[in-house]
Structures are given as C-alpha cells and as structure tokens.
Subunit: 99 residues, 2 copies
C-alpha cells in the first residue's frame, strides 16, 4: 500500500529527476499497482496528538499501515519508527523476506 499523502510528496521530490509527464505516468503506475490508503481527519488527529514520533508524516504513515494491518512499513529510517504500531523494515531486508 501507499499512504495518500506520499503521492504529492513524491510528485514534489521527483521534480529533480523526472519531467512533469514522467512524474504523472510513474505515479499513476504506482497508484494503480498499490492500494492507496486515504488520509482523513481521524488519522490526522491521531498523528497530531501522538508525540511518540519525531516526524508527523511518519506517524501518518503508521496510521495508514495500521488501518490495513500491513505486515511492515518499508523505510530507510528504521529509528524513526521505533514507536510505530507496524514494524519497520529496510527495503533490502524486505526483498529477502519470503512471501
């Protein structure tokens, strides 16, 4: 799955590497490939009142992952998810995980 707010974030970050058309096509591919978990007021309030996370957006990611009972949150920042409901995993470790 991908959290809904990650799409505008990726659109912004990828501006350094891809044209606008490439970004639109890449993100459409991702949106069609993965489940998009919506961001709503409940998750936003939960993240705003949870100070266990250093980063508010990381907490939103955890709220999205928890909603769909995800097995892992794939991230390069394991330490930032020390207090998450869903276990963080490095991308390389995830790829070694048996399906």
């Amino acid at each position: 799955m991908v959290a809904a707010h990650s799409i505008p974030n990726m659109f912004f970050i990828l501006r350094k590497f891809c044209s606008e058309e490439q970004r639109r096509n890449l993100l459409l591919f991702i949106v069609n490939l993965l489940q998009v978990v919506p961001i709503d007021s409940r998750k936003i309030e939960a993240a705003l009142t949870n100070s266990k996370f250093k980063d508010f957006e990381d907490c939103l990611q955890d709220e999205c992952a928890a909603e769909i009972n995800a097995d892992f949150i794939i991230t390069r920042n394991i330490d930032d998810f020390a207090n998450s409901k869903i276990k963080p995993i490095l991308p390389g470790d995830f790829l070694k995980t048996p399906l």
Copy 2:
C-alpha cells in the same frame, strides 16, 4: 474546509515559525474548526490525469473543493486556478464577501 494533504504541508512549512508543540496545537485547532476533506485514490488519479493545472497539489485542492461544492478556493495564486472547477478568490476579497 481544508484538504487533508494541506495539514502535513502546513506542519512542514510552519517549522520555520513555530515549535513542534505550537504546530501540533495550531493544526489541531484548524482540524477541529474546519471540515477536513480526505485525499483518496480517486482524487489522486483525477489530479494525475488533469494537465490543465500547472501544479498537481493545486488540482488536488480543486478536487477536494468540488467534492463538497465549496463556494470558493481561497488562495493567493489566482492564476494557478484558472482552470479549476471551483472559483478561486484572494483572501482579502473573501473577507469582504457578504456571508
């Protein structure tokens, strides 16, 4: 109303002006004051396939505003909403609008 993705954006932008606690309190106030319109896959796909907007996030704002039949989109960037479904209005002009 406020579009859901505006909350993490504001949390990021306000880091230059407010402490983390102030940002959490301010955004909780906004979330409780205004209707938060969720960001979901339908709106994201609509915005990714709409090239009438220069800015993808502006188009997401318009999708949120259209969903609730908003009267206006309050923005300082009127030109960026030239092709929006919902009419853009400057903050100062909005304040002069009769209720």
